[in-house]
Homo-oligomer: 165 residues x 2
Amino acid sequence: MKLSGGVEWALHCCVVLTAADEPVPAARLAELHDVSPSYLAKQMQALARAGLVRSVQGKTGGYELVKSAHGITLLDVVQAVDGTSPAFVCTEIRQRGPYATPPEQCTKQCPIARAMGAADGAWRASLAAVTVADLVTSVEGDSGPEALPTIGAWLTEGPGARGSG
Amino acid sequence: MKLSGGVEWALHCCVVLTAADEPVPAARLAELHDVSPSYLAKQMQALARAGLVRSVQGKTGGYELVKSAHGITLLDVVQAVDGTSPAFVCTEIRQRGPYATPPEQCTKQCPIARAMGAADGAWRASLAAVTVADLVTSVEGDSGPEALPTIGAWLTEGPGARGSG
């Protein structure tokens, strides 16, 4: 089982966008993270489709968070990039073979699907309990209070950012 | 994010093996579940590599559970078939680009990796809290106390099973 690698990039982008007071071009986010602009643009488009960021057009255009960092959970970002499908999909094995349970008797989910679904729920609940604001607090604890404001200022200055428009 | 489809087959096999009082050939398990014998054999081999089932050789040979159903958790089965790698892998994005954190300052995991790791832990803890014996209890609740013993008797009788040696 493996999450899309885009989840990690999208989460990093959300964290640094909290520190930018103007929209940030995707190319500038890519430069900050030293990654292919087209790859990063794809993750930002996924976040935009999910309503987590919006693309502001024009000379000073770029991406900005739609909601406050307190209003965006890790689950929002994970599902935006990796989709909402559960990791375990029941194919109704109990309805196969010589001792198949007739479909009309399958009024409840298979016990295996119930247990796997409970684990999926625990994973999603854990992700839903952490917001981008919590990540910002952790980054500040690890790297000091100036780290994100410094990056935020850089994101909206210089080549590829507003100043170069 | 998607688990290997083999997880579902492996879990069903573990549940029905609790009801067999003799080793069950993989071909008989495949017949019960109406699935390709070679595909099912692959899942059983994964369970055997993980020490959850063992292959008994000889005329009355087949697979049997190594431990009691109380001693095998869903996590054991999931990891046997799908591997133990976490769903989220940190690629140290914080160490990239113009504001890279120097590796020597990365003494703690990245905050994003910590949060994603906590969710992975919640998923695994949920799977580790359910045993194959719990699944058996649920199946009995759904299908009645005779369902599994009937299947267990069938598994060790007839073509492909012991009687056909």
